[in-house]
């Protein structure tokens, strides 16, 4: 029974990789610019979840800071792109 957790972690990472691949397809030929921004924001969230799963896998707390930074940078990046789509410039 001790191989339950590594199996579940591997399967979860495979599911995340599939989700990121589908989102990458949407990012590459999304019909409009806001579709691409949405797909990029989703990929940031999935990357953050991958970091959290790796923290469980390697039993280390070092990944939490990375995950937190990934949330913050994803927010700033998506916000800047959305402001650019809305106004034509980021900082007014």
């Amino acid at each position: 029974m001790s191989s339950l957790l590594p199996t579940a972690i591997g399967l979860t990472l495979v599911l995340y990789a599939l989700a990121m691949g589908i989102a990458l397809l949407r990012l590459m030929h999304g019909p409009s610019a806001q579709d691409r921004v949405l797909a990029m924001d989703f990929m940031y969230v999935v990357g953050m979840l991958v970091m959290l799963v790796l923290a469980i896998r390697y039993d280390s707390r070092m990944y939490f800071e990375g995950a937190l930074l990934m949330v913050l940078f994803g927010f700033v990046g998506s916000m800047a792109l959305a402001k650019f789509l809305l106004r034509g410039e980021v900082i007014e």
Partner: protein
Amino acid sequence: MTQHWSEIVVAALLLASGTLVLTAALGLARLPSFFLRMHAPALASTLGAWAVTLASIVHFTAHEGTLSLHAWLIIIVLSITAPVTTIVLSRAALFRRRRAGDAALPPALGGRP
């Protein structure tokens, strides 16, 4: 015995989160219009992230013997930032499609985009 129990809970939460994130990605790929596609990633950033955070709290609490709630910070930050991004992005999409002359959209109410 405690080890055993926490492993089952962590594995179930991780697999639930993986399924939810894959469902969100399928929604992002398959839904027909942008305003429908906008709903799909919320599944990953709320329920998927909650499941992984609960799994990591259970795992680290069971391994170290003390309550470790530091992963909760990610949920707090994510629940502040995700709605703001969604609202600004939806307003940008509405503004762009109104400016492109999309007749299927309702007219603006107060003159603001």
